[in-house]
């Protein structure tokens, strides 16, 4: 084929030289579009965080003053600790639930497609609707959970009125929203595993728990990484569900950084400090994602050197 074996005299033609760049040219418009929107928001946010901005959007550069004020603010410190608790518990619980659902869905033979479709429904319900539904379920008088407790002869609980319980309910609502998509990612990973490996492992004498930890888990590491990124990002950034569920209460028990950011920027109109919180969330999300990618996606041994 002449176009792949250029003559020495002629050298490669112009089209040949462009060929390696074609894929990049094709993704360029989309990439620019996404980078443009993301870049505008991120750069705009960082600029906001370094300025004092009044409600007419007049800016005065103040350097790191907003950062110093925010980090010294006890209400921010509380929100940060609360958010870290919320995120860690959500990640552990969320990944455990996602993995369980993925494993169950993987095993379902009859009605497989139906159940896989059904499992995604919570993901398609908007955050506000999810919050309203959880309020119905956990309302103190006449709520679903308290009604069931009453039937069992157990005392009613003030689910959304008690600080600890409200925090727990907020985590449950968050998991309800984020688990379906995470389990779909993990299910996709499970389906890439050659079933013969399970047979080989059974003959090799591995029990189901050993098979899970020594075969299944290492082989879905990249997908585990992606679902961790998803679960962490959703938990750090969760806003609408918690706002509609508890508005950060009771007694600020569910006031996460994202809720406080909203309060600062849009209630107190302190755009500078609100933007600082945005930068803090951005840094946490980015650093965590990079760690996940390093450990789970790049660290996947199968692709460590030349492939096939």
């Amino acid at each position: 084929m002449s176009h792949t074996t250029p003559m020495v005299e002629d050298g490669p033609t112009g089209a040949d030289r462009l060929k390696p760049f074609v894929p990049y040219l094709l993704v360029l418009p989309g990439l620019l579009f996404v980078m443009g929107i993301l870049g505008y928001a991120v750069v705009g946010g960082i600029i906001l965080s370094l300025n004092e901005t009044d409600m007419f959007m007049n800016k005065t550069f103040v350097g790191l003053k907003n950062y110093i004020d925010v980090f010294a603010d006890p209400r921010f410190q509380d929100a940060m600790v609360r958010t870290l608790n919320f995120v860690v518990i959500s990640i552990v619980l969320g990944i455990f639930m996602s993995m369980s659902f993925a494993l169950v869905l993987y095993k379902v033979v009859r009605g497989r497609r139906f159940f896989r479709g059904l499992s995604l429904v919570p993901y398609f319900v908007s955050g506000i609707a999810t919050a309203v539904m959880f309020r119905f379920i956990f309302t103190t008088s006449g709520g679903f959970v308290n009604t069931v407790l009453a039937q069992l002869g157990l005392p009613a609980q003030s689910w959304l009125g008690d600080p600890t319980l409200a925090f727990v309910v907020a985590i449950m609502a968050n998991c309800w929203f984020m688990v379906p998509f995470a389990s779909l990612i993990l299910l996709g990973g499970l389906q890439t595993i050659d079933k013969d490996l399970y047979d080989a492992a059974a003959i090799d004498g591995a029990n189901p728990i050993q098979i899970f930890f020594r075969i299944t888990l290492p082989l879905i590491k990249p997908m585990l990484g992606v679902s961790l990124i998803w679960v962490s990002y959703i938990s750090f950034s969760t806003f609408d569900i918690v706002l509609a569920l508890t508005s950060g209460g009771p007694l600020k028990a569910t006031e996460l950084v994202s809720i406080y950011m909203y309060e600062l920027a849009f209630q107190q109109l302190n755009f500078g400090q609100g933007a600082v919180l945005m930068v803090v969330l951005l840094v946490f999300n980015t650093v965590l994602s990079l760690i996940y990618i390093k450990i789970f996606v790049m660290g996947d041994r199968r692709h460590s050197e030349a492939g096939k």
Partner: protein, 357 residues
């Protein structure tokens, strides 16, 4: 105590309401290399997986080394299996792949090292121990899969179509390597394949399967020379045996098989079958030869010179027959000539039952 090393007694397998194996009875002696061969869907892989403990037994018995293993877990059956896909753990090095089973059994570390060393030297895997399966060629992966089985030092080796993912040249090499390995280790082996050449060349004992039943069991050449029925006759041998329907008739020189088109095919005097019986006359391509002095008129339709042998397709009284000659053939397609049949090599099958007469 069973006399066979691996024994199946009236073994049946159903998936849902569908019966896949219809009562298999088979005895494989200790140290034998048994090949289960048959077309896809004949139940050979199911039988192997049941032996491995990867499928439940619906009814009947499987015995390994005198022990009924129907309800024994795969890991405790003393078997090792080589899969068609090799089933190497992609995230483990060659060495870890080979040691995984031993580690799961809490084998002492020193013993693991010794066994891996031994398997690696037998299979020439030494330089590859640190590599990942994705860094190996198909033939190397195949050897690792065998190495993993070897380190287990099993009582029975199970192979499930292990060569079907290799190219033709490598397949021939690995075929010889597996056979040489068996001759060295003398471990009882059950090998599943749909390739009748693998069955013929590798087996001590060929088990021809079809539609969930065993059609014939025996040494490769014994089956080749005396196929028990039409299925086996057609399945074993390449090119396949020529099969021509006809009726046994009385001729001046003795009995012959007369075809619809009036062709008279010779029979040896000792041949079974009675005059007037409807039969299928079978003759292998190498026993039907071009012969200018022959009495069977044929017209060549295709000549395929393969170097050391020549395949000839020809029209014999309306039937397309195949001949294999080790002589070079001067005639070309379209030429008319004559052929002879070696009557002592003719096979007769009952047309109604398909069984050998």
């Amino acid at each position: 105590m069973a006399e066979g090393y691996v024994e199946y007694r009236n073994l049946r397998k159903s998936f849902g309401g569908l019966e896949i194996l219809h009562g298999v009875d088979l005895t494989i002696p200790e140290g034998a290399f048994a090949v289960l061969v048959g077309p896809s869907g004949c139940g050979k892989s199911t039988l192997l997986r049941m032996t491995a403990g990867l499928e439940n037994v619906t009814s009947g018995e499987i015995n390994i080394a005198g022990r009924m293993v129907n309800n024994v877990h795969a890991k405790n059956r003393g078997i090792a299996m080589v899969f068609q896909s090799y089933a190497l753990y992609p995230h483990m090095s060659v060495e870890d792949n080979m040691s995984f089973g031993l580690k799961m059994r809490k084998t002492p570390l020193q013993l693991i090292t010794d066994r891996i060393k031994r398997a690696a030297s037998i299979l020439k895997l030494g330089p590859m121990l640190d590599r990942l399966p994705s860094q190996l060629s198909g033939g190397q992966r195949q050897r690792v899969a065998m190495g993993r089985a070897l380190t287990r030092e099993p009582e029975v080796f199970l192979f499930d179509e292990p060569l079907s993912n290799l190219d033709a040249k490598l397949r021939v090499e690995m075929r010889a390597e597996i056979k040489a390995l068996h001759q060295r280790l003398k471990t009882t082996t059950i090998y599943v394949t749909h390739d009748q050449i693998e069955a013929m060349t590798m087996a001590d004992l060929v088990v021809v399967m079809h539609d969930g039943r065993i059609e014939q069991v025996g040494e490769p050449l014994a089956i080749y020379d005396r196929p028990a029925n039409l299925f086996v006759a057609e399945f074993l041998g390449s090119p396949a045996m020529n099969l021509i329907p006809g009726i046994i008739a009385q001729d001046a020189d003795g009995r012959v098989v007369q075809t619809e088109s009036g062709l008279r095919l010779p029979l040896e005097p000792e041949a079974n079958g009675t005059v007037g019986q409807k039969v299928v006359y079978g003759i292998r391509p190498e026993h039907l030869q071009l012969d200018p002095a022959g009495d069977l008129p044929i017209r060549l339709t295709l000549v395929e010179p393969a170097g050391w042998e020549t395949h000839v397709h020809a029209d014999l009284g309306g039937h397309i027959v195949r001949m294999v000659s080790t002589k070079r053939v001067a005639q070309r397609a379209g030429d008319s000539t004559t052929a002879t049949i070696d009557a002592t090599r003719a096979h007769l099958f009952d047309a109604a039952t398909g069984n050998r007469l």
